[in-house]
Amino acid sequence: MKTFLMTTAATLVAGAAMAQSITVGAANVSDYLDPGRDHSNVGSQFYYNAFDTLIGRDHSKLEPEWVPALATEWMLVDDTTMELKLREGVTFHNGEDMTADDVVFSLNRMYQATFPPYVVRSRDRLGNFVEAVKIDDYTVQIKVERPEPLWETLISLQQVMIIPEDYTKALSGDPEVAEDGDYEAFSLAPVGTGPYAISEFVPGQKVVYSRFDDFWGDLAPLETATVIRIPETASRITALKTGEADIVTNIAPDQLDLINADPNLKTEGSATALFHVMIMNVNHPNLQDPKIRQAMSYAIDRDLLNEALWLGKAVVPSTHTMEEMGALHMPELTTFEYNPEMARQLLAESSYNGEEIVFDAFPVYYTNGVLAAQAIMEMWAEVGINGKLDVQDGWTGGDPEMMARSWSNPMYFADPFGSFGVMWAPNGPSEGEGRFNTDEEYAAIWERFRFSTDVEARKAAYAELMDRIKQNPPVLPLYRPFESWGMQTSITWKPQPGHIPYVLDFRAGAIALGDS
């Protein structure tokens, strides 16, 4: 009888918990939802609840710890082939069973991309991946061109989350053929295997997650989670106060006290795995002398920016590294530092004659972006750099006239390749825009960094790359901004350290609701 009562009580408690729903007020909601096509900060919020990768990761831990997801086992068959056993009994939100066909389809839509948005996403991070091959209904092999040191990392990317083949192909045109129109239609009616199905999607306005009862893992703790767009910060905070929202995103540091002052509300935050950076055009006629760019970097007191603008909550790096990168986290390197004396000396030795150096900044895109830029102008003036701030909405990174500007460099996945690597590869985006040059030596170091299977060799190569950046700087990471979420005190939620930035993780174990 006692057992019966306890079971009943437990069932009741579980039942109560199961009935719970929340509303999230987000500054932005995606205009489309396709994990393959997207790598925006806005989009990153939405995929993890509804989609799975083959290999998962324990997101409660900072250090990578790989766990089975849609694949239960994986092993290298040879240097360039990995074989994965698929989980059986996995169902998509539309009721289809997941088999090797779906996996091969999902992976090859990226590995052998023809749809232009996929081509772009695939090239910068999946270039080494040749194809996925079906062995039997629950076994697939993935083949790479060169031995891959980052197998698990690159198989657990958002871009290679698994989607259903038949459903997608039938969305437009010929149901037997994957056309561009299918992928475009998919992004308005996305279907995955995650613990929540996307039961309603109004582009740019609303995403509704509903618990998916046939999920293969621990069932979702929430019955529904509705994310709505509330673009104005003041309105987001008010919505939290009025109870219209249970969680709100993108709260600026100076608004935290306002929320925390209310006994029913609280905030959670973390230093985002993303750098706000200053980029410098190495090919601008007035900036070709590396000493000028070194001086531009040495002049900036990033700790002061952190104290003044982020209340000391941001993280100022000594090199282009993040602790999420595990063995490849290299805080021992000093690539970037504040040294106004050095800046003055370098300027004196350089060809600089007081020419105006224009710094372009977006008006609102980066929190504190314009304030930081204004402070940088003052810091430059201190050492004798004649800076001029140009606040404008357009992207000038590809303009040969651009001298310096604000940008951000996210960590797309937990490896230096996923952060510095994507942006500063030979022939990568920065070189492609003509503001960064690489040579054979850089490319050779790059190769060792990217493809060495020995971690120490990769670290040594990365240190060499950082030294190249220090000697002839095209970039200065300012800090990892501190991102905050406001919520009702009855909610237990915080950003999990193992995720890429901005992920709203409402899976089992990541969120709990009190008895409100």
Binding site: P116, D124, S187, I228, K241, G394, W395, N427, G432
Partner: protein, 308 residues
């Protein structure tokens, strides 16, 4: 008359052509859409691929001609982001905006006309002065200031009203008040002035001399005559409001309307949505104007003759 209508229609088509052209080139002055779509950093090769995919290839004139050809065929293009017809996207947003506009209109009429009439009748004492003082203040305060103040007091501090979206009638209160502030102020002043003009007319004295009660004199003889002027002014105000006035209010209250859509499209540089959104609003104003012209012509042969 047929000639007159044809002429009006031709004028309308020409106006639309000019608007489409202006909007097409103006949106392209706001910068490149590529970075905002695909995050930071694109190689030259990727850029070329996407330029082709989004139909941004070729010179701006070629793009313009392609766009015009599409417009003639009734195809205003696909949203860069959502990849579905822009007409569909804009259509979803029209009704919420219209609802807000109608609510504001109703409130404005109910408040401004009585206030204006009172201000005219009591022009010589404190009631008239107080109403006019209020009207001046209302006219001077922008709608977003009213909106923010209401949000702070009615929602943030007192938690009386919701601030997000348009789900229930309670959601309409603050946005409607915010939208109506300036309209009420303007219309009160116009009503007062129109009434003052009418009150001095001979037929008003005649009406009183007949021994009619004062209310009947004011409402039946006075307001009815002042009403013509008032309504034409109101039409102009609404056209302005439909075009631009609700952008800020919609953003503050996360109202899923067309103003809010235009702002997001401008931020993400979703040219096709922005173009069609602006063209739709302009089209609404042009069509209303044309209908007004035609209606005037029916009502007043002198216009028809003078213009025809």
């Amino acid at each position: 008359m047929t000639v007159y209508i044809l002429r009006t229609l031709l004028k309308m088509v020409l106006t639309l052509f000019v608007i489409i052209t202006l909007v097409f080139f103006a949106t392209r002055l706001t910068g490149s859409p590529l970075e905002t779509f695909l995050g930071e950093g694109l190689t030259a090769e990727d850029r070329a691929l996407l330029i082709e995919y989004f139909g941004l290839n070729g010179s701006i004139w070629e793009q313009y001609l392609r766009y015009l050809r599409g417009v003639v065929e009734g195809n205003f293009g696909l949203s860069f982001l959502e990849r579905r017809p822009v007409a569909e996207i804009v259509a979803e947003r029209v009704w919420p905006s219209l609802q807000l506009l109608l609510a504001s209109l109703a409130l404005t009429l109910c408040v401004a006309i009585p206030l204006g009439v009172l201000a005219a009748i009591y022009r010589a004492n404190w009631i008239g002065s107080a109403i006019m003082a209020l009207a001046f203040v209302g006219y001077a305060v922008p709608n977003f200031v009213i909106a923010i103040f209401m949000v702070l007091i009615l929602a943030f501090s007192w938690n009386l009203l919701p601030v997000v979206g348009n789900a229930t009638w309670a959601h309409f209160i603050m946005p409607t008040l915010a939208m109506s502030g300036v309209l009420i102020a303007a219309l009160t002043r116009f009503t007062r002035n129109a009434m003052l003009d009418v009150l001095g007319q001979d037929f008003m004295r005649t009406a009183r001399a007949k021994g009619l009660p004062e209310t009947v004199v004011i409402l039946k003889h006075g307001l009815r005559n002042a009403g013509v002027t008032v309504l034409s002014v109101l039409g102009l105000q609404i056209a302005g409001m439909a075009a631009a006035g609700n952008v800020v209010v919609e953003a503050i209250f996360s109202w899923p309307g067309i103003g809010e859509l235009l702002v997001s499209a401008a931020i993400t540089r979703d040219y096709p949505v922005l173009q069609f959104g602006v063209i739709s609003v302009a089209m609404a104003v042009v069509v209303v104007n044309a209908l007004t012209d035609i209606a005037y012509a029916y009502a007043d042969p002198r216009i028809r003759l003078a213009r025809g």
